[in-house]
Symmetry: C2
Subunit: 365 residues, 2 copies
């Protein structure tokens, strides 16, 4: 079973392929895309150990000349310094404008490789081969690339669409369980904001925290629906001037929680889980959403093994201050994505600080 | 006398205004463009001393909230480190997606401010207010932004179109004479590659090396024709997939000369002057161009006070090796822009290394 999802963007359209075992088709898929001969495969040591050789063999069999570079693993290396190292490798190996960087890894590898490709020689090709659930359903699709500023996540970056996204669900079998659960937060998000059928499917499924052990039809369903949701939204609004903002459901408070806990206590998806709980409660308090719906959402979040409460020692005043640093702040007003029914949200910057305060206070353990 | 040139690019069109005294109109012009309230004015200490206050006053009078930051002057600070400092100021002052960076300065300030704007929050507005001749006729128009890699000029960058280019010819009166002459190289380039009328006008003018002392009708003519030439080319090919390559006339060898002399011996325009002489001679040797036309070109280059010879101690083998690092190299082949008649060029990667060798050897002092 395999699916192809088309992302339609002015000047650059591309396909997302979801197919078990497709890692071995990477070279063949790329060969049809009029890319240059040279490929810089960027990964990290762990991922490379599992899948590097297969990726390289597939590329070489299709006639590509491949060099590879491993980034140090982890969000704390998602910096301009790491990007400079990719530039150095690109220079040493004389990558040209027609050359391609291939990101083989999770969100950090994908975002950094994408940003390096966006800015090397003012933009070369990039192909995304996500290996984490988060990267498969979120960061590899849509062209957002970037690194962190010491004082804020993803503040530095560019929009740079990939030439291809290749998703092989089988690689999820080596993903640590906690990473898998964190990725599920974004899947749940698509159910709440866009795809009520996906939401219902998630409600019906028993073990969202260990989905990769279940038969692959369900994981394929989840990956395909999630990527389709993201592709729908991104195709309608590539540069985030309007609709795309809804993808930030759960992220406004999520980002602030991550930032305040120095990106160490929570995985991104875990913080988004907390953020969705908060956004749901805010929506209920503002009379936008049914109490029963927010409970249905929270049940799924818990079933996925994600946290739904804030640490007792988190300073709520600091958290509210951190919201101001969000990239989507406009004229000093914090923008929230709030659900109105399952599968539908609205964007608003009219949330009283008191309401935010109250919801966050109630979420403390 | 003032002119407005339209740059027509998919998704983003903008205007270049050429008008004496227009620096004082900066705020008013920007006010009509739906930009946010916050402006970060980036300049360098020398330029800021001359024009900073006027620019800020004009912005404030139009209702903008202005902060400013001075980059250290010179090409050797055109690095990612300097960009990080711009990010820090952007963060401290909470620049938002709707905010604008204004580049007040020469090519280095323009390229760096443009790149910082391209990559801060994945892209905010930038307005270019060029103060050098080079920046007016070349770098401020067309959206190329970037910084140098320790081993190559402009290897890191992005395409990011400005919202407005505001050219006030009167600010040229404070430009050092050598900088003025260097900028004239790009003007001569437009005459050779695109605008035969401009070429003839340059032939007729007496003092190309001190044009800013002559009456402003001539400088306005030169600025307008040069910007129009660049706008024509860029509108047809924003991302340099074809036609835009002709703007690199004189730049292939020019960049290599700059790189080999560590960006210290020659100004960019001076190296381009040398590069145009070399490209002209190569075109003659390949039977593409008339000997008389290359002599007419070289006469103008000399009249503008630009060098036409290579330093005696420059290693030609190293120079040829450095050509391989050019961003436009494709499958290892160096791409040359060669004139076929005044106002017309062709792009080719079929130049025998022997011919390049011979021409460069003849150009040694």
């Amino acid at each position: 079973m395999s699916s192809v999802i088309k992302v339609d963007i002015p000047e650059k359209s591309y396909e997302i392929t979801v197919a078990p075992g497709s890692l071995d088709q990477l070279g063949a898929k790329m060969a049809g895309l009029k890319l240059g001969k040279k490929v810089l495969l960027v990964s990290n040591p762990m991922i490379f150990k599992h899948y590097g050789e297969r990726a390289i063999a597939s590329l070489q069999n299709a006639g590509f000349e491949v060099v590879h570079y491993n980034l140090p693993p982890g969000e704390r290396y998602k910096t301009l310094n790491s990007i400079q190292k990719i530039y150095d490798v690109a220079l040493e190996n004389r990558l040209e404008r027609s050359s391609t960087m291939v990101a083989l890894g999770g969100g950090v590898v994908g975002d950094m490789t994408g940003f390096a490709a966006a800015t090397w020689l003012r933009g070369i090709n990039v192909v995304q081969v996500p290996t984490s659930l988060l990267a498969m359903v979120d960061s590899s699709v849509g062209g957002k690339t970037g690194v962190n500023h010491p004082q804020g996540k993803n503040l530095i970056g560019a929009f740079h669409q990939p030439s291809l996204v290749l998703i092989d669900p089988e690689v999820l079998k080596t993903l640590p369980a906690r990473e898998f659960r964190a990725g599920m937060a974004e899947v749940i998000k698509y159910g709440v904001i866009w795809d009520a059928e996906l939401f219902t499917q998630l409600e019906r499924s028993k073990h969202l925290d260990q989905l990769r052990y279940v038969k692959s039809d369900l994981i394929n369903y989840i990956l395909t629906h999630s990527c389709q949701a993201k592709a729908d939204v991104v195709s309608k609004d590539e540069k985030e001037s309007g609709l795309r903002a809804i993808l930030n459901y759960g992220h406004t408070i999520g980002h602030a929680v991550e930032s305040l806990t120095n990106y160490r206590l929570f995985k991104h998806g875990e913080a988004v889980g907390i953020g969705m709980v908060a956004a749901g409660e805010i929506a209920v308090k503002l009379g936008l959403w049914q109490q029963t719906d927010t409970e249905r959402q929270n049940t799924i979040i818990k079933k996925a093994g994600l946290p739904t409460q804030l640490p007792a020692d988190l300073d709520i005043a600091e958290l509210i201050d951190a919201l101001q640093l969000d990239k989507k702040v406009k004229s000093g007003k914090v923008r929230f994505v709030l659900p109105t029914q399952i599968g539908e949200v609205k964007v608003t910057d009219e949330v009283p600080t008191d309401t935010i305060n109250q919801v966050l206070a109630e979420m403390k353990t």
